[in-house]
Amino acid sequence: MNRLPGWLVGLLVAAPIVGLLVFYVWPFGNLIATAVDGESVRTVFGRSRTWSIVWFTTWQAVVSTALTLVVGLAPAWVIARFDFAGRRLLLGLLTAVFVLPTVVMGAAFLALLPESLDRTVWAVIGAHVVFNLAVVVRTVGTVWEHLPPDMEHAAATLGASPPIVFREITLPLIRPAATAAAAIVFLFTFTSFGVIRVLGAAGTRTIEVEVWRRATQLGQVDQAAVLALLQLAILGALAVWSSISARRSSRALQLRPLSGPQHPRTRNQRLLVAGVAGATAVVAITPMIALVVKSISTPSGWNFTAWTDLGSAEVRPGISLGLDPIDALRNSLETAAWTTLFATVIGAVAALGIAAARRGGKLLDAGLLLPIGTSAVTIGFGMLITFDTTPYDWRSTWWIVPVGHALIAVPFVVRATLGVLRAIDPQLSYAALTLGASPARAWREVVLPHLWRPLAVGAALAAAISLGEFGATSFLSRSGGETLPIAIEQLLGRTGSLLQTKGYALATILAAATIGLVMLVDRTGALVGGRSGARSDPENRTSRSERAGR
């Protein structure tokens, strides 16, 4: 494996680096250059609204995170401790909800909630909680599962009542996992964009939404750039703080898997498991059902008009929204196809390079993760204001949106592939070589056959990311080139009309497509299984990937 010729390794590493420099580093630098202008910094920082937006962004993220943790602990416990019919299904269901595009999740909650709650911050927080339940259930659940029940029993025999056992024993032991989950949920909700665009009132603004609003509605590019950097600075500071505090509290807990989850035995246990699992399933499924129901609930009663008449978006005869839902579907599929191609090729090349290049590879690996840490809105915004000058005026090219999506998707292709590449026994290649195969042939015969599967997983993830991507696309897509999430957001803004019903129909299609792709990945055994260490690894990335792009 590591016997690739030096020039080839160089080439393999260089290609993704060039891509990263051109499509990420340059726009990012340009964004900073745009923002570094005393006037706009002063304006943004001097506006009291800026700080109330920062405050709102923070508190809704804190509340969303806390609620997600609290609500997620019960299903995490039930799934970790008990084996019951539908356990796997429940876990799969939560994961499916988690990988849904943000716009779809917003749409589902819009469909579900009574009008009095629509467009309130509570609707937004509710959507955040349901959306992110899987993070808590999976992250905390995995640790909980490996926490021996006897340790809790030991505390009980020493006189600790169940609440005290939880406080004194369980909670401290699952805390690192809970903290990790909280960090992820906080990152997602702090940079929430799609959910808020769909579900929030016009005045509900996270920093991310405000960046978009300033840039695309008020034309204040420099102020938007300042806000984008302000958001990154806050996230960066939090990351540093959380990594420092994580280091301080990190402690190697030698938790061994014991007997695994047991069937509930007593009546109380059965009731508890059924109650928690049932409630969780209801919470996860109801928004999806509401979505479908709303897509056949038109202003003229229950019918399939929105579905049969999907191909137009007329407000009234002759007056149209200027977007064609069927076109949006086609645009999305085309974009997803190109994203998949770009991300898979670059991801495969990068993975090969990283595996072969050792130290330099590690750097590239980390570099490719950068776009995920940056918000999608910032990526799209940076690209839009950077590639605007001949000969680099790429705003109207067909490939700019897929490239933006690929930036977010590549790391996940790399991660899916890299694990397999590293696991291939180098001895195998040597063996092939000693049997007289040329290096190229040995590579083809030994390495290549193992690559298809991870690449297929990566490709499916890339496609799912692209289909649901909203933040970067909000900037990069042009009139007439709307993708599904863009079309859904626009249609759902039209209260009480058939247009909104069509928005729900499109959201249903997008939800089905995403879940279908994720199930495809699951069929390869890499996604929802979730219990055996190595296999369950990519699934965590899926989740992350899915959402990183919004």
């Binding site: 990012f28 609204r49 002759g318 007056i319 980390a366 839009l384 009139s479 369950s536």
Partner: protein, 415 residues
């Protein structure tokens, strides 16, 4: 910690850490990046080479404007055979007209007129809807130099200075501009855009709905804050919508720069509803179109629209206009800088101010034609309201304060 969990946490930590790290990374590259992105800027300032080559005389053709449209190109002068020649010359040319969402995309006389333009010139016109005026303008700014279309219709006098400052338009003096009164052309002294129509943004009311409620129509802006009009008014967001901005300006005009905020607070208390655009306000919220709000910010020309398109024939307009609330708007069309079809774009601009096209406007776009020679349809003259005096704020004042007012309004009203 289990391997799975550790790896997951490591991945997340890596992602988070890189965010922190990238600050310094990218700082280092800032200089390079900005240098790179600025260098080619010079070339774009001087604008697409093809534009220059083909239309250098264009801006200076003001006075001798020939009556025939589309005689721009130096080689097709004879007026008689103009249609055939032009058609042959422009075969397969297609240009895109970017416009707001209330512009009819098919089935109206305006669209018929555009089809006639295609028949005469061979230039196909595609209509691209780009949202409400504010959104459309911002998009044009973000795509300046590489526009989404060739000609833009509908930036109005409340937004025009922003459009001019961000150089989204290629200056051009239309043939036939002399038919447009100077009080309109004076708004764009350098010819960045061409005035194509004007109208008044006014409070409209649903006569029958108010009747049913036993409420008299309001007479003034002040009336809208009265309890009897509670939860009745729907307005547009001035950040995204041009009538929304016009209405905001009307309130600024009425109450002054320091008092309009109080007025809006009263409107809020009285249950005003805000939507993003005119289409959503009028077609989805206004009671006459099926919504549940009998008062809407719309146009002085909306009543004739309702007469014309009524399902049963009407003698009187079903909606009314509160004249004292009217704010004057002039709309412009302009060639988007960076178009690769400057010649065809110029021909379209010329066409847009022709009497024939202008006469189609009132009944389909519900505005008054800018061309003084265009005759008005009787329905329009009978039912449209032209206030004796519309509100207007000096363009320079609007330009200086627009963003600040919108910001202030957003914080106040949207929270």
């Amino acid at each position: 910690m289990t391997p799975t969990h550790t790896r997951f946490a490591a991945l997340v930590a890596a992602a988070l850490l890189t965010v922190a790290a990238c600050g310094s990374d990218d700082d280092a590259s800032t200089d390079d990046a900005s240098a790179e992105s600025e260098a080619p800027g010079d070339t774009s300032e001087t604008e697409p080479a093809d534009t220059e080559a083909e239309s250098t005389e264009a801006p200076s053709t003001e006075a001798p404007s020939t009556e025939a449209p589309s005689t721009e190109t130096s080689d097709s002068t004879p007026a008689e055979s103009e249609a055939d020649d032009a058609e042959a010359e422009n075969a397969d040319t297609s240009i895109t007209l970017v416009t707001y969402e209330s512009f009819p995309s098919e089935g109206t006389r305006v669209n018929d007129e555009l089809a006639r333009f295609t028949a005469e010139t061979g230039i196909d016109v595609e209509i691209l809807i780009a949202g409400d005026t504010g959104t459309m303008l911002s998009k044009a700014e973000l795509t300046a130099g590489n526009p989404e279309g060739d000609v833009m219709w509908g930036i109005d006098s409340t937004f025009i200075s922003r459009a001019i400052n961000s150089e989204i338009f290629e200056p051009y003096t239309a043939d036939g501009l002399d038919a447009i009164p100077s009080d309109l052309t004076d708004l764009v002294p350098n010819g960045e855009a061409t005035p194509v129509d004007f109208g008044d943004v006014c409070i409209n009311y649903d006569i029958a709905a108010l009747d049913d409620l036993g409420v008299d129509p309001p007479n003034s802006l002040e009336d809208l804050t009265l309890p009897e009009y509670q939860d009745m008014l729907v307005v547009q967001n001035p950040a995204t919508s041009s009538p929304g901005l016009a209405f905001l300006l009307a309130t600024v005009d009425q109450y002054g720069e320091d008092e309009w905020q109080d007025y809006w607070l009263s409107l809020l208390d009285n249950g005003v509803e805000v939507v993003d655009g005119w289409t959503a306000a009028y077609y989805e919220q206004f009671s006459y179109a099926g919504g549940d709000r009998p008062l809407v910010v719309s146009y002085g020309s909306s009543p004739p629209f309702e007469v014309l398109y009524a399902e049963t024939e009407l003698d009187t307009a079903p909606t009314g206009v509160v004249e004292s609330t009217c704010y004057r708007q002039v709309e412009f069309a302009g060639i988007l800088a960076g178009t690769d079809q400057p010649d065809a774009a110029q021909q379209l601009i010329d066409f847009l101010v022709t009497t024939e096209f202008q006469e189609a406007l009132p009944l389909d776009v519900f505005v008054f034609p800018a061309n003084a020679d265009a005759a008005l349809d009787p329905v329009f003259t009978e039912y449209a309201v032209i206030p004796e005096s519309s509100r207007e704020i000096d363009p320079d004042t609007v330009d200086a304060n627009r963003e600040a007012w919108i910001d202030e309004w957003t914080d106040l009203v949207l929270g």
